[in-house]
Symmetry: C2
């Protein structure tokens, strides 16, 4: 028994996961450090700073009202409160451009991570092939592996220097032809901030339809769309029959402390997800669900201002990295930046550890997102602007210090 | 793919799960109803009424402080905030009678359901045999089945009329001899309210040790212990090497709207549980974790009063059922009552549906807990006392109406 379980959990390493640095056995960097420690306030780019970008207005008040509502808010259906699902369905239908049944097509979950877990568990059996984008959110891969699925990678070109431009649609088609029956992708892409074009989304829809494949679209960051870009919702093109879309208020809205996610789409898959949620966590916390009343109902101009402020930080950091000749894509949405660093005199993971110990900067190593991005690092730049700029400059100095 | 997944989810039926009645297709009771509808306020015995027994004092204030603490409370380690784990570890060590390392041996989860899910997932591989008590909490069985384990039932005698008194320890030994390497049980037992004797706990500990078996002990209701009873914590007898104990403030403390659970014990299993939590839900909601500051720190006398009030309802209901010659065990702890009904003129599930439609009483059918308790029903009597008494009398009237 232990052997099978040991193998299963070996694939679930979290040592390099964002926020888990505190549990790492301190890397032995003896003799590796070059030069002195840098001054400067710690910036943890592994996740957004909700003290810099505060939770959306009225969220706490909505929670308080949930507590006042008592039992009916504490105990909801496993898929979440009917009232709140109806409210959320209407707003998400308007946002994504296609109707949603709050009763049949929506489930509220503990975070979007919970939604992703339930969606993958409801669609992947042992031995199934699953098409996964590289680079993409590391949990996609880990979840498929946990349920015994086999990953079929599909590359995404995102740097100016990449020969491949955008998603390798031929590889996606080949994956479906080789019997992959599920495709999981984030849009905007985590970690690069790429947004799929209308043409790419239409082709994904057409391929999925042709092969009868299911798609899980993680659209967590789709509200934080920078000026000059357009966003195409897959469900508006593909319909919901074989599609689960995932969103939540954790990121742009800084409501991660409430851990809320929403999955919507295929009735059949939502039904399975609810059955599974019943044994995984029963439901999203009852009072927390009430916070969703504020979602997509922020005060006028609030979202625009939040986008404007993030865009300013994005532009600062892109300028800093590009001035140092570090290739980086300009994020079209979201708050992730994924610069590619050169080969250095230390291994990539050692450099990440040195960044933390020597420069007070925490980033997530590129190895988490794709075996082809080992020298890249991911930054969530939803941070205090001045602190983020100073930390980005320290990263550049560190790269120069450790250059071969 | 769909076939394997379909089979997997078929075992996860939740239609009869507590609180899910609203999603049932209304049972066709045409021609089945005898007599008129009863008057009387709806009592939902499927879970406790947190409007009758209010959340423990200061819980909302602790949450509010969590929100004020901002980012450091919103984003914690996956296993939960270090500070809170240390606080909880100290109090749980005092309660259970053996030391706990807050750093290494504790994980905070979204509800005790989350803890149970992670514990089972971390110990059961496909094909493993798992010893499960009958009757016991239905999720134990569903979780083992979801991970492909094979259930080895161990009977619990709990009624005066039962020949078997307490746990069938010979059957547990036989299960271990037949290669079961995990034993899952709730103590107090859900649904009967039985509490295992010191002798039973010691024998469980000795058997687990002899066979090198792992044990998951769900002690969710262990604080609500009625006068005249003693409770023996397995971890005080068995040590934590191969044991996970699960508790949480959802029940006795009425904090279910915050969905918090705590698992503690084996470092190795806790480590796996954290790795898995990282892909299941990342963590218990950050702000909600702060509510645990109030746990085991309620005002003096508060818990004693809560126990006294539940004991009064328990005694009322036991008297009502026993006066009608319905066999029922007197719960030693917790707030579940599990009366056995006679064979009626309708099937057990029809009777449960009729109770709801005709008598405004929601109960959980006995089939959820054991294939041998089909005619029993479970009541969570953490309710308004007068309403619970009236509803129990309606159950008795309904039994008399439908008696053969």
């Amino acid at each position: 028994m232990l052997d099978a379980i040991d193998r299963k959990f070996a694939a679930l390493a979290t040592d390099n996961a964002p926020g888990q640095e505190v549990r790492q056995v301190a890397a032995d960097l003896t003799g590796k450090m070059i030069g002195e420690k840098f001054d400067g306030r710690l910036v943890d780019f592994s996740h957004g700073d909700v003290d810099a970008f505060l939770p959306a207005p009225n969220s706490f008040e909505a929670f308080e009202q949930g507590v006042r509502d008592g039992g009916k808010q504490a105990y909801t259906e496993y898929r979440g409160s009917r009232d709140i699902r109806e409210v959320v369905a209407e707003r998400l239908a308007a946002f994504t451009g296609a109707p949603i049944s709050g009763d049949q097509q929506v489930i509220l979950t503990p975070g979007t991570q919970g939604a992703l877990f339930l969606a993958v568990a409801s669609t992947v059996a042992a031995g199934d092939k699953v098409a996964i984008v590289q680079p993409d959110y590391f949990a996609n891969r880990k979840l498929v592996q946990f349920f015994g699925g086999e990953i079929v990678p599909v590359q995404l070109g995102y740097l100016d220097e990449d020969e491949l431009k955008g998603l390798d649609l031929a590889a996606l088609e080949a994956a479906f032809e080789a019997d992959a029956r599920l495709f999981i992708f984030s849009n905007p892409n985590n970690p690069t901030g790429a947004v799929y074009s209308a043409d790419e989304i239409e082709q994904i829809a057409a391929l999925a339809k042709r092969f009868g494949a299911t798609v899980i679209a993680d659209q967590l960051y789709s509200r934080l769309l920078y000026s000059g870009n357009t966003y195409t919702h897959l469900r508006a093109k593909a319909g919901d029959d074989n599609l689960i879309t995932i969103m939540g208020p954790s990121k742009t809205e800084s409501l991660s402390g409430y851990r809320l996610g929403v999955a919507f789409g295929s009735e059949k898959i939502i039904q399975r997800m609810e059955k599974l949620q019943a044994i995984v966590s029963l439901r999203a916390p009852g009072y927390n669900q009430a916070v969703l009343h504020t979602w997509f109902a922020e005060p006028a101009g609030w979202m625009e201002e939040r986008i404007r402020l993030h865009q300013a930080i994005r532009d600062d950091l892109v300028t800093i990295f590009r001035s140092a000749n570090l290739p980086v894509a300009i994020p079209k949405a979201g708050s992730y930046l994924f610069p590619k660093l050169p080969e250095l005199r230390v291994a990539p993971k050692e450099f990440v550890a040195l960044l933390r110990q020597q420069a007070n900067v925490i980033v997530t190593p590129g190895s988490e997102f794709s075996p082809r991005t080992l020298t890249s690092v991911r930054l969530n730049y939803s941070q205090d602007r001045a602190a983020a700029v100073a930390a980005a400059k320290r990263i550049v100095s560190m790269v120069e210090t450790y250059a071969r």
